[in-house]
Amino acid sequence: MRAFRGIPGEMTVDFGKGDSMVIYGDNGTGKSTIADALEWYFTGGIDFLSHEGRQHAVSYVGGERGEATSVEVFTNGSLGGKIVIPDERSVETFQAIRRETFLLRGRTLADFINKTKTEKWKSLVEILGLEAIENLREDLQRARNELRKLSKAGDEEVRSYRRALGSGSDDVSDDMVLGSLQQICTMLGVDPPQTLDQAIDPSWLTAAAGASAAVSKGSDRERLLAEIKTLSPPAFDRRAVEAWNELVSSDRAKLLPRASLVREAKRLFETGSTDKGRCPLCGQKVDDTSLAQRIERALADVMAASRDLESVRDSVAQLADDLEAAHDLRRSIHTRGSAMELELPPVPDLPHVVLSNSVEALAPVTVDAIASAVSDLRKWDRSAGTIAGKASSAEPGSRDTQLVMLAALCQQVNAWRVAEKKAARAHRALALAERVFDAYQSRQKDDLTELLKQISLRVAKIYATLHPGENLDAVSVEPWTAKGIELAIEFHGSRQRPPHGVLSESHLNSLAIALFLAMAESFNEQIGFLLLDDVINSFDVEHRGRLAEILADEFSEWQIIVLTHDQPFFEHLSRRAPSWRRLEFTSWSHASGPRTTQYETTDILRDAHERLDRGDTHDAAARARRALEELLQEVCEALWAPLPFRRGQANDKREIGELLKGLRRTLKERAKPQLESLEPLLKNLEADVGAALNVAVHASRARPGGSEVRSALERIAVLDDTWTCPECRTRVWHRGTPDAGRCKCGQSSFPPVRLLTGR
């Protein structure tokens, strides 16, 4: 850990090869920094510092200039590495690790227990790594809900069409709608559809409309009305009639009756059928020539009159015919109209008979009477036309309305059918979605229930070990709803779920520890260590002892790191688990950070060399001085060097001179030859402390150079190596006592064997 949390420089904690460790320290000595470092390394954050305005405290606050915050973790697997601020790891980096359970802190001990059922579910789903399954379940649920809405909307649409077809009532059957269609078709005179499917066929509607039009055009009524509309009185040429009257009233008209006689006379005369010299008409004796001329003249006059007559008679005769035809037609229309309940006015009498007789008799006619008759006829036509117009205008409108009604009804039926199909499809889709969702959720619940069952067994066992004979057993984690879980416990015969009402705070904390250990045991795949930071605060001595036993006995395969400020628990756990490493945090200062019983000479020396390489002679000298202090403290402690008693943290602040004095005294008593061989080195180091490693001197003009500091560092390293086995690199007091210590491999010892032999 470098420039991290409460560590201004660098601090190394040696866990060996995955050894368990119990770490003791009073409040504020910095022991939780270890938990912070591991939490930051493995999760990318420190929960306690995740709130706004706290994140900066991941780095050492007020740290040395330019010091980068970093945490380096060494593991026997692939999880090790070094993280430097700014931490550029993505969220995905931690996805797998977040499923692992490895850290339990006193301050958040009961967090899981105090969560709601749904929160517990979500936490467990995350711990179990079932987010992907849960996310898919949520997507399925969203799809199901959307289909539910769609299905409901479809039903509502169908209902609205049914209401429209049922005139407000949605109790509509196919037969009822078919009945309505048939009624309209009957009015239109077309064949009704046999089924609603036929009615919604566009080709049927087109055919029905066509048939309706054909029926309408071909009806007598239609024809009659159309006929009436086309009526007009015969043309009346007053001048022609007046010309007739003038002609037949003139003298020339009197010739006309003779015309046949004259023609007969001419025929007889020309055929010689008459006696010569006699009139063929009267038989009187006449000159043939004269007779012939007279006949010719008479004939010419007659012919001229006849031509004049012809020229006017045709018009009048035509008028007589036209009037007669007009009269007959209107009488016919009247008769047919009456049959069709068409109320037409009486047809006026017309003078066509009189007119015909007059033509025959070459008699004049009354012009005004004819004009009046034509006028009456026109009035009748207009009146009949109006009636026919009304009748015909109503008639096609009714048909159109019926056609529109038919089309609208067919359209509604079609829309109803489409809506029904749509709703039916939505129902099918919903049924399918619900089936799949239910199956999914059921399986998910079954799977989780099985997992919970297994966890529950382990939780119950750990809890029972923590609280034997308390009649609080059958602890379990149970599914509560489809998306909720809850803790439960048998409390003197009653099932308590959640157990908060019947358990004390320490019992709930025990439950949390049991759950933590069981989940880690059940689900951890990558992380093989568990870190418990001040979790026993609410436990009494007896329960602390039981927890120590569980950790030492049942989790011996795990690397357990226990942080505590409770010295009896620290001592108890150290005795109960002698193979565990021990580390004591003794003090913390802003300048040098935490001090522990773990000596860090090697690390401090390396740091000093790095600073020297960077040209920072002043800092390198300070670190070298600190390394010498650290080394002398370690040797004095290991060899039980006689030093004056100091109380509390002052013990950590002994001067180098005092420590060297203690070392010399103990070497003089137990390893005098070694003291003699070391004395030149110790004297040089004393000189270094007054010069090259004197920080105050570094501020003066005659400050020592880098080479002098480097030489001092080499001398410290030589002294450090004096106490280290060259074979196994452990200290010469690794085993045994200060009177007879040896390294791990046994090759090196204190007092040194060689020197002893040479004595």
């Binding site: 790594g129 289909l147 199909k421 399918l432």
Partner: protein, 53 residues
Amino acid sequence: MHRPSAQEFLQALLETLDDLPTEFARRFEEILKKDEADRSQALRQLFEDLAGD
């Protein structure tokens, strides 16, 4: 303790829904690979498609 992946879970689920068309299983597995933002819509479409006309 084995924690099933979403793929394994889905596979086991589909085996219990073996009366559904094979098309359903194939498309459901494809949907699992989609971005989560698109999945609920894709699932809805799948159910609607299988509901037929």
